[in-house]
């Protein structure tokens, strides 16, 4: 959805109850994917995705594009709901590896698949050692494909701070992987 389409879509949603559907269709996949990677299972991802869009609908009349794109606004709502979710349930934000690997290209050689699962398991284990903020950064960067600037808007930090945090995060993961004995080509 281009910026112009988004602005029109938002205005239409404010004026017409059926207009919110277009915004929903434009962003539901991205928001769901982001939430899924943060909570690790389908049930909670569906619940929080629903809550995100219900909250967006309820607060849509007060939304104004003051330098924060609508997508970033949605991500922020999701981010806050996820934070509440983790606080209330006291869970660690561990990604469900089996469900992630189910979406990857199938390997016919069982040993290759087992090795791939092991490497992915080690990587997931290394990521799980990160604090939630760094995990979220990785999800926004790799699962959502957002730039440092866009991530900064969502997390309320400068682009430079995000870039620096990203660099330190990669160093930490690399260190974890090396300690676990995994070398990446």
């Amino acid at each position: 959805m281009t910026e112009w389409d988004e602005a029109r879509g938002i205005q239409a949603a404010k004026e017409d109850p059926d207009g919110f559907g277009a915004l929903y269709e434009a962003y539901v996949d991205r928001i769901y994917s982001y939430i899924y990677h943060r909570v690790g299972n389908v049930h909670d991802a569906e619940d929080l995705t629903s809550r995100t869009f219900y909250r967006a609908l309820a607060h849509l009349p007060s939304y104004q594009d003051k330098g924060i794109p609508f997508s970033a606004w949605l991500y922020r709502i999701a981010h806050n709901l996820i934070a509440n979710f983790h606080r209330d349930r006291k869970r660690r934000s561990v990604v469900a590896l089996d469900e992630l690997l189910a979406g990857s290209a199938p390997e016919h050689h069982p040993e290759a698949l087992a090795e791939a699962r092991d490497d992915a398991t080690l990587l997931q284990a290394a990521i799980a050692t990160l604090d939630p903020g760094r995990q979220e950064l990785l999800v926004l960067k790799f699962a959502e494909g957002l730039s440092n600037a866009e991530i900064g808007v969502i997390l309320g930090r400068s682009e430079g701070a995000i870039k620096s945090l990203y660099h330190r995060t990669l160093l930490q993961i690399r260190k974890e992987m090396q300690e676990r004995g995994l070398k990446l080509a």
Binding site: F20, A45, A120, L184
Partner: protein
Amino acid sequence: MIAACGSYGAGAEPISYRKRFLRNLRALGVIRTRPEEFEGLEDAMLGTMSPVAPSSGFRSRLRDNLALAARQRSVGLAVEYPAPVRQGIILGLSAGVAAAMVALLLILWQSRRSGATR
């Protein structure tokens, strides 16, 4: 502005002096923006964190529920996320049990009164 940015290929976007300067430094190997030792790690994370799509059933259910909620909002009703079914069942059962206990107490009290007046 275009002339100041220097030459560039047809159809390419003009680049700033800063970007040209950094590109030249990278070409000389003076600086790296993407350390080689991170390339494998980033590729691995790209493969692990691929986008996940919701089921079509969930998408359509939520779309329909949101459309209903939007119409409710348009007539002045508050938009609230539906309470989980389990909570509703528990609340309903609790209310039913409480009502049954009150009714039982009333029946017992009535029967005692009618027994006392005989």
